[in-house]
């Protein structure tokens, strides 16, 4: 808090910035995470958010996958143990989500790449339509895939067949 006595108006002219007499939220991931749900962007913003989540999720999977595969070399016993863990239905469900993330990230990436060399496509209404189209393709591919995979998870890990 600024002390008004030490801070008369004329002294404030031009020096307030150096004194830090203002309020600013610190920039960074925290601000983005806090403000994205509050800022009322449209479908384009949400397509980007979904793209980021899907991308990060896929990256997380890849990291884990590289680590567990490297166990083959370093600790074969542990590797076998890990594989048996993966048979748990939770991992089956995780796989279904993973497929969704890879699919969305890929399709959305194709939309952006396809538009990148045609600047006239970068109009909000065009992109909104393309995003909805991408989402439709995503659902058309993902729903059957998820049903098939879900079925397998159910059969194998829960009913034990």
């Amino acid at each position: 808090m600024a002390d008004p006595k030490k801070n008369p108006q004329k002294e404030r002219q031009g020096v307030w910035r150096a004194r830090g007499d203002f309020w600013a939220p610190s920039a960074g991931l925290g601000l983005v995470l806090r403000e994205i749900p509050r800022y009322r962007g449209r479908v384009h913003q949400w397509a980007w958010v979904a793209n980021r989540i899907a991308g990060l999720g896929t990256l997380l999977f890849l990291t884990i996958h590289i680590l567990d595969t490297s166990l083959v070399y370093f600790a074969p016993d542990l590797y076998n143990h890990t594989l048996s863990l993966y048979r748990h239905p939770l991992f089956g469900i995780g796989e279904i989500i993973l497929v969704g993330m890879v699919l969305w990230h890929g399709l959305n990436g194709l939309r952006i790449a396809a538009s990148d060399f045609r600047p006239h496509l970068w109009a909000p209404h065009h992109q909104a339509r393309m995003i909805l189209g991408t989402f439709a393709i995503f659902l058309a591919l993902y729903i059957p895939a998820a049903v098939i995979m879900g079925n397998i998870v159910l059969q194998k890990s829960i009913l034990g067949r």
């Binding site: 808090m1 600024a2 008004p4 801070n7 307030w16 910035r17 007499d21 203002f22 309020w23 600013a24 939220p25 920039a27 960074g28 991931l29 601000l31 983005v32 403000e35 994205i36 509050r38 800022y39 009322r40 962007g41 449209r42 384009h44 913003q45 980007w48 952006i112 538009s115 990148d116 060399f117 600047p119 006239h120 970068w122 109009a123 909000p124 992109q127």
Partner: protein
């Protein structure tokens, strides 16, 4: 009609953090949000601080976040804002620039980025007898980006800018575009070099918040994509 306003307040001499002030004012449905803010300042609490000059969408000084979206207070009708906010109009300063007081932000970081793109005509040829001529098509090429009024609504709506204030921001790119594609200008190489830097044009993730926010209806993302293409291909088509 009765209008309820929630305004983010901050007085650097008293407050450590912003707080919400709630006000109720009487307004015509076709008044602008700016009129409602004036009412608060003139009749309820004279300490409320905001910027505005023209009050007609020309000067770009009253960009603020209204109901969670950046726009000019002088271009939003109270009726629409009330509907949108379900009975309350929420008013905040632009996000990402330091708040000096209430709704007034320090625009200097924004203008610093603006200056980086050399926003003036660069042409070392001796001036011709009369004006530097240009065909209507050549003029049309950058028409959209001439409309910018430097209100900062776009830059402060951009998650990339929230994440990193070094990002040069959509407004500066719009201004660069205005000169890069001007047939009379010779500074494109230098501007493209600036925009090709780490915090230049590639920080744009095509989120489109800027386009939605721009009170002049500029297709900012398209301008940014055109600059990206120009950097990639070296052509100013």
């Amino acid at each position: 009609m009765k209008v309820r306003l929630r305004i983010q307040r901050f007085n650097p001499e008293k407050d450590r953090k912003p707080w919400w002030g709630e006000y109720e004012v009487e307004a015509e449905p076709v008044d602008r949000v700016l009129d409602a803010l004036h009412y608060v300042k003139w009749y309820i609490d004279g300490t409320l601080t905001l910027r505005r000059s023209c009050a007609h969408g020309i000067c770009g000084s009253d960009a603020m976040r209204i109901n969670g979206r950046n726009r000019l207070a002088c271009k939003v009708l109270v009726r629409e804002a009330m509907e949108e906010g379900r009975g309350v109009i929420t008013v905040q300063p632009l996000l990402g620039l330091p708040v000096i007081k209430d709704l007034v932000v320090d625009m200097e970081p924004f203008f610093a980025n603006y200056r980086k793109v050399l926003p003036y005509l660069i042409n070392d040829d001796p001036p011709p007898e009369r004006e530097r001529l240009q065909t209507p098509e050549e003029r049309e090429r950058y028409d959209d980006t001439t409309k910018c009024i430097l209100c900062a609504a776009c830059t402060t709506s951009c998650p990339s800018f929230w994440a990193n204030r070094e990002y040069i921001g959509p407004a500066a790119i719009v201004q660069a575009h205005r000169f890069i594609f001007d047939s009379r200008d010779q500074g494109a190489t230098e501007r493209l070099r600036v925009l090709n830097e780490w915090f230049g044009v590639w920080r744009c993730r095509t989120i489109f918040n800027c386009v939605e926010a721009c009170p002049r209806g500029i297709n900012i993302t398209r301008a940014i994509e055109e600059v990206k293409l120009a950097i990639l291909t070296g052509r100013l088509a």
